[in-house]
Symmetry: D2
Subunit: 334 residues, 4 copies
């Protein structure tokens, strides 16, 4: 029997999740969708064969719904995840788990109280073939221990209203999660350097250059450039004792024309991580079906990502290196 899924929030992200779950993922069907825009909800419902709900809380409790995907606006994540936990249903929540540490804490408390891990956070890079290959080389011991991780995260442009803190909590938070996953340890401090503003920066500090320190002393530097102009690009180079592994994910073809040989840079994250999203959903659905733990980021990972991002914002605002202290890690996430 397919896993019956309800999707809360079917904008760009949630709509694509619904499409994948209905048409590209094995073992799932979309039975219910909700969106603050009822028309959009109706369209996605029609395209996926789902029913459109007008109350997300009812959707979560619906007996026809086995598991929930949360892709609504950031501030609403907490309540839906808590509702899913209350209904004892698996939930895959887009990042952030919650925008504030307190909200993440309440989710952790609820899940620990329940005693079962039901919450996944949508840090899809963990399913990217490139990051997997990078981790395989590191874990295989071929280049020794990690020493540094250089990261680049560029968007062609971001919404004009976004301020610098959004570059950390919305963009660099992906590097925060992937660095923890790659290195298999926590980040403990962060310094933010602020270069001159790029021409595309609209009234905010853009780009940022963040330097994180891990528990074992690995330095993780991250360029986050929201208005890089030329396209969307995520790159990394892991520097280790005896060698390095770099991730650049070149597209499969090169074009020779007009005096140059060129490869396309994608316009945004959708093309770049389309396959990672599908793999993430497939793994999650299979694990829900089998009653096992998926390879997704956990509620603990979601909490830490928010915590580190908040400390990064403090480092930006104060201009000072900030250290961070995590709450005690519950045994549930060992």
């Amino acid at each position: 029997m397919p896993v019956r899924i309800g999707v809360i929030g079917v904008g760009v992200m949630g709509g694509e999740h619904a499409r994948l779950l209905a048409h590209e993922v094995s073992g799932s069907e979309v039975v219910a969708v909700f969106d603050v825009d009822p028309q959009r909800a109706g369209q996605v419902a029609a395209a996926t064969g789902a029913r459109s709900h007008d109350d997300p809380m009812v959707l979560v409790k619906d007996e026809q719904v086995d598991a929930v995907v949360v892709a609504s606006s950031d501030p609403t994540h907490e309540q839906f995840v808590l509702a899913a936990l209350a209904a004892a249903k698996p939930v895959l929540c887009e990042k952030p788990l919650a925008p504030d540490v307190a909200g993440c804490g309440r989710i952790l408390d609820a899940e620990v109280e329940l005693g079962r891990r039901l919450v996944s956070v949508g840090f899809m890079r963990r399913y990217d073939q490139g990051y997997r290959a990078l981790k395989d080389v590191l874990d295989g011991g071929r280049v020794g221990r990690a020493v540094m991780l250089h990261c680049t995260h560029r968007n062609a442009s971001i919404a004009p209203g976004l301020d610098s803190s959004a570059l950390i909590s919305g963009s660099a938070v992906h590097e925060i999660d992937i660095a923890r996953w790659l290195l298999d340890e926590e980040l403990t401090a962060v310094t933010v350097h602020t270069p001159r503003r790029g021409a595309g920066a609209t009234g905010t500090q853009d780009p940022l250059f963040l330097v994180f320190e891990s528990a074992s002393g690995v330095l993780v530097d991250v360029e986050v450039f929201g208005n890089a102009g030329y396209g969307y690009e995520v790159r990394a180079e892991l520097v280790a004792d005896h060698g390095t592994v770099s991730l650049d994910s070149p597209p499969p073809t090169a074009l020779r024309s007009d005096g140059g040989v060129a490869r396309v840079v994608p316009a945004d994250w959708r093309g770049r991580f389309a396959e990672a999203y599908r793999r993430e959903l497939q793994d999650w659905v299979a694990s829900v079906e089998a009653g096992t733990l998926p390879g997704t980021a956990s509620a603990w990972d979601g909490y830490v990502a928010t915590e580190v991002a908040q400390v990064g914002i403090r480092a930006l605002e104060t201009g000072q290196r900030q250290t961070l202290e995590l709450r005690e890690k519950p045994a549930l996430y060992a």
Copy 2:
């Protein structure tokens, strides 16, 4: 309701198809499998939740089976495809459709007689993101019309018993199909050049260098090297009026170690085309469900591939350029 699929032949290729259809493709389930090795059939049946049949002809007619995948040994393809046509069921047959032109002809006749297109041939490269990108550039007019297509097709090694004709009918046949698909026209002549044998060639002429001519005069040259030693690699460069597009599908990461910066070359076709196989099956299942035509190669494409490969073998054996004449194309494939 999922499409219920029967798989005939569950060796390396058919077994992977069964796994994908059961666990990675949306809308399908594997309900029946057959293999000449009953133990292997049993294992795949257990892993996919299917029933193991002991008669493939019964499997094709089974009312529980909506559609059939044929991945058995080459000489057996024809009978199973004809049986599927007789049962009016969609069938996806691994290449070759049939090893000989006469067999392909009988399938064409049967499908034309039936008056509906039910046969797909598993030329999975049509679903590779790289070839798609290459075709998009060509079709978009950005570099003008095609003039030449340089192709490289290398295996680390092939089975010792294979002779040179197998390099054409088993390997270069992929380039034959993809060239027709990219250029959207037929190949009309072929010359085979034979270089000295590589050290890995075991009693046969390996590599081969084939030069095809298309109806409009495009030259398609193909290096087929069965024992290239270092890995599996498929590359192409399309040369057009004003530029070229090259396909090399680099892996996402590069390793710096021991005095070099390197990218992995896959050991065989499975890694290289894993995603193409999944997309092919997904498209086929969706089209079966919707009752529409998939983007797969048709019985006509399967027939032409075998015809061109056979003429290539004749060119190899005679040392002379050979021209070819196709049978008239039935209106069903217009």
Copy 3:
């Protein structure tokens, strides 16, 4: 004491040679120049501190001239090289040594008669760092013996008047020489395939696709495209028993802009082979000074290049594979 050089022909090529010999090569000075255009000769003379001659034959015999560079129009090469031999002076002649086999033969005869090797032919690719690296890998035995050599030779555009034979004698002749040098053996046969014409081809067959066979059976295929449109590009891939070496000479930087990451393709051969020309001249000057043999192509190499190119033109004109027979190799070139 510097080697005093006279340069005959100071157009684009000879003018650059004069500049290099005067300002970038150690141990040489340009003392005399001649050109059919006296004004051009005067300008180059002024820029290099040389004297402008009005008779090239007098220049060759001039006691102030130790060695001669010939970069005049192709049909005049022979007479100047013969004059240099008559004067027993080292001469570096731009390719072709002579446009016809008979002319090359007369030079061979004269040099053999003299009994000393004084003639160099300007196949500068032998000094390109990329081809050197390629040859080093092959000679080092790392990939086994050569099996095939795939070559690409494209110009952005060529002079409208040039016909197809010039693509062979003027362009592919570089691949003829470099293949002989890389493989250290002679070419013995050639077939020419003619694709449809590119849009840039003005009244001639362009591109051509040549397939040479070497004495040991290595296949050397060459795409020569005179009006490739997008730039000047020379590439090669040597396929050997256990691996391949490819030459693409990427420029040192990559530009990310406008949705792509790109490397520049040079507009013509000058940028691509500037360093090879300098190294060739430096090696030649040093050998003249030391009285040793330089690493340049010899008169024998120049003769063979013309011979093979002529047979290639015959293959183009007849549409048939042509074999070739070289004259006996004089002991002087052993």
Copy 4:
């Protein structure tokens, strides 16, 4: 008449300079050499046709010597440069101009006093084709103004005795100079981050991660890794308003073997910057001959490099961001 050059210090670096000046640079000859090791001096003298001196101060004053190259041990640079200034002879001094700011200051004072620029400092990267291309793109305005510059500087290994400050004054000093040259402005502050030590680090902090700030606010980050293990590599990416330019200087060939496609990373700086050294020397010799200013780094550039490196060392030692104040720039260097 060739420029007659005396070389002080003919170890690895000075010996190569002598070789280039004698055999690869137009317009120069080496007439005198000195080394603390008389045997080494004798060998280089023999190979270049020079005389071996036993007193470097006499060498500088020797009437046969038109210009001086200083490649002796760092602490001796100052005295030889001052002697050359006293003798009013052009001098090309390897970096550092002097290891301490005071020494650099005395050279500046002497040159200003003399009123003519005679001092060049051997920051050879300014002559690297890659850095030139990078600067051309920036200066051409194609990508807007610079915002960040990411630099990587790795050696396979460094001498065991070297401490961390040598990573700044000996290695990162190249990035200090090239950043000033590329950006055409001064650096004003520096922070040093210290990751865990790599396995190759012998009793010292290696690698270092430095973050410089320029006057206009460009961030320049530099990874300096003395014992990176796998080879010598210098890379950079200039991030600008609308795009980036990255420098990686790939070698001309790629090797396919053993499951990978690889390009060689040079073992040390000699291979990587061989051509830059030659160009630097050629430009310097030509300018000496013509009595014009070369494109080399000036005494002012040498002073600033030492000043910034010293402040970097202070930042490393204190763990604090350090700002820096340069002395007033004499009009001579405007």
